[in-house]
Symmetry: D2
Subunit: 176 residues, 4 copies
C-alpha cells in the first residue's frame, strides 16, 4: 500500500507515533480480571495468562490500550477476544464504572510501575461464561481457586501491579 | 401439625410475628431492576411487572424481604425466581454491593414510602439472559426500551419509590 | 420502671423485644472504618477502638444497629458520636452506598460470625477530621499507619469479621 | 521561546504536541461536580461555573486533562484550585474510583461530544468545605439547590455532556 501514513491507520498508531504519545500524555488502559462464578454469583475461580516476556515467564491479566475513537466497551471486548479467544463469552458489565483505577508510572516507586509509559487503567472484574483459550501472545490460560489466588507463591508470578490488582479484586469479592 | 410454633417455621415468620417485627426494627430488603443487555453490555431494555394491588393496577420491580439466616445472594435468587420465573437466568453480580440503597419509611414525606414498614433495601441492576414470566402475583411482565422507561407516563405507573429507583438505575447506566 | 412499655421507647427496643426480633429477622447494621487522610485524600491512618468484651480485650471498629425509623445517615452519625466522641468531625459520605456489605450469621462457618444475631451491615470508610476519643464502652482509640494495619499481629486483635473488614478497606483504598 | 522544547516543559505539552496527541489517542480527563453538604452528608447545593466560550456564555463543571506523570489526585487538586480557587477546601475522596466514567468523542452522535478530542473522563462528586471563587477563566461560580439543578432551564445552560453529568450526579445522590 503506497502512500500509507498514520492517518490511514485509523485508531492504530505507527510505532513512532505511539512512542511519541507515550512520552507526552498518559494512556487510557483497561485491565480485566477474568473470573468464573456459580449460578448465585459466588466466586469459583480467577483466570490468568502465562506469558513469555523480556523478564522471563510471567502470569498476567488481560490488559491493553483504549484506541483513539474506541469506546471502553469495545476496548474491553477486543482485549478479551485477543487474550482469551472468541469463545470466552464475557458477562459484560452494564455499567462502565471500574472497581478500581490503576495508575502505572514509568518511574519505579510510585504507584504501579510500567517502564513503557504512564497509563491510567480502568479495572473490571468480568465473569466468563465460555471457554477461555490463550491468544497468540500467551503460553497458557489457567483458572485458579480463590484459595490458590491468595497465595504469595502464585502472586509472585505476577508483576507487582497485577499482584496488587489481584488482591484488590479478591478483596472486592469478599475473599480476603 | 400440632405443636407448631414459629421456631418450626424456619426463616419464615407467622403473620403475627412479622407484624411485631415490622413495628420494632427496619427490615432488610432487596430491590431488583431486571435489564436486557447486548453482547457488549449496552442497555437494551428494562423489565417491570404489572401487579394488581389494593391501590389499583401498578407496575413494580421484583422486591422483597431477606429472611432470617438467608444470604443476600439467596434472597436475590429467590425473589427473581418468584417474580420472573425459573427461566430468567439472571447474571448474578459477583459483588453484593448495591448500586443504591433505598430507605422506605412508613411515614409519608421522608425518603421512600411504604405504609407497611421501615425497610432498608439494597438495590441491584441484574441482566436477565433467559425468559422472564410473571409469577403468580403478577398480571404480566414487560420489557421497555430505555426511551420508554424515561417517560413520565410509564413512571407514573410505578410507586414513587420504584419510579425513583428506575430513574436512578437509568442514570447509573448512563441513560439520562 | 412503672408504666413504661416498648411503645414508649420510640425506636429503642426493650431487651426482651430485641431478643425476639433477633431470632426472627436480620438486623440492619452499619460498620464504620474511621480513617485519617491528607489534603489530597491519601490514606494516613486507620483507627480502631480497644474494647473489653466477654472474650477478652479486642480491637473493633465502630458498629451498631440502625433503629426503627432511623435514617442510615443518622445511624452513622449516632454510632460515630457514641464510639468516637462529639469532636470526631466525620466527613459524612454524600452517597449512602456502602463500599462493602457484611453478612453476620449466628452460626459459625458462614460469612462473618456474630453469635447474637443475623445482621446485614453496610460498611463505610469515613475520614475523621477532628479528635476521636473513646466512648464509655472503650478503653482507648488508636490510629495505625497503613503498614501497621496490614500486619497479621494487629489483625489478630480484631474479630475475624472486623479483620476481614479492615483488609477489604485497605484493598479498596489501594493499600494491598 | 529560545532553546525551549517540549522535553523542557515537563508534563505540559506545546500546542503542536497537544494537537498531535489529540488526534492519536484518547486523553485522560477528570470531571468534578462540586457540592455542598450538611453535617450529615445530605446534598445542599451543586456548584457550577459560568464561562465565556466560543459558542456563547455557558455553565460548566471544573474539568481538565491529567498530565503526563501526574497522579489522579494531583490532577483533581490542580483543577479544583484553578477553577474554584485556593480556598475551596475540597473533601478529597479516599478512593479514586469515579462515580461515573464519561466518554467524549470528537464526532457528534456518540456518547458525549467534544469537538477537540476523544477523552475518557473520570467523574467525581466532591464536597467543598471552603469558599469557591471563579478562576481567571470564569465569570462567576454559583451554588444551586438540588431543586434548581433539576430544572431543564438550568440544564440547558450546560453542554449536553455536563447536563448529563449533572443528572447522573443528582441521581447518584438520590435526587431524582
Amino acid at each position: 500500500m503506497n502512500g500509507i501514513d498514520s492517518a490511514d491507520m485509523g485508531p492504530w498508531l505507527s510505532p513512532d507515533d505511539l512512542e511519541f504519545v507515550r512520552r507526552k500524555a498518559p494512556l487510557v488502559y483497561v485491565d480485566i480480571v477474568p473470573i468464573r462464578t456459580d449460578a448465585k454469583g459466588n466466586l469459583v475461580a480467577v483466570g490468568m495468562m502465562l506469558n513469555g516476556t523480556d523478564s522471563g515467564i510471567m502470569r498476567a491479566f488481560p490488559s491493553g490500550r483504549v484506541l483513539y475513537h474506541e469506546r471502553l466497551r469495545d476496548a474491553l471486548v477486543r482485549h478479551i477476544e485477543k487474550d482469551l479467544g472468541p469463545m470466552a463469552l464475557p458477562q459484560m458489565p452494564a455499567r462502565t464504572v471500574p472497581f478500581t483505577v490503576g495508575e502505572y508510572f514509568p518511574t519505579p516507586g510510585e504507584g504501579w510501575h510500567d517502564p513503557r509509559h504512564h497509563a491510567v487503567s480502568l479495572a473490571f472484574i468480568i465473569p466468563m461464561q465460555g471457554e477461555c483459550n490463550p491468544g497468540s501472545d500467551s503460553l497458557e490460560f489457567t483458572w485458579f481457586t480463590p484459595g490458590e489466588a491468595r497465595t504469595a507463591t502464585l502472586q509472585a508470578e505476577l508483576s507487582e501491579a497485577h499482584a496488587s490488582l489481584l488482591r484488590q479484586a479478591l478483596a472486592a469479592l469478599g475473599h480476603c
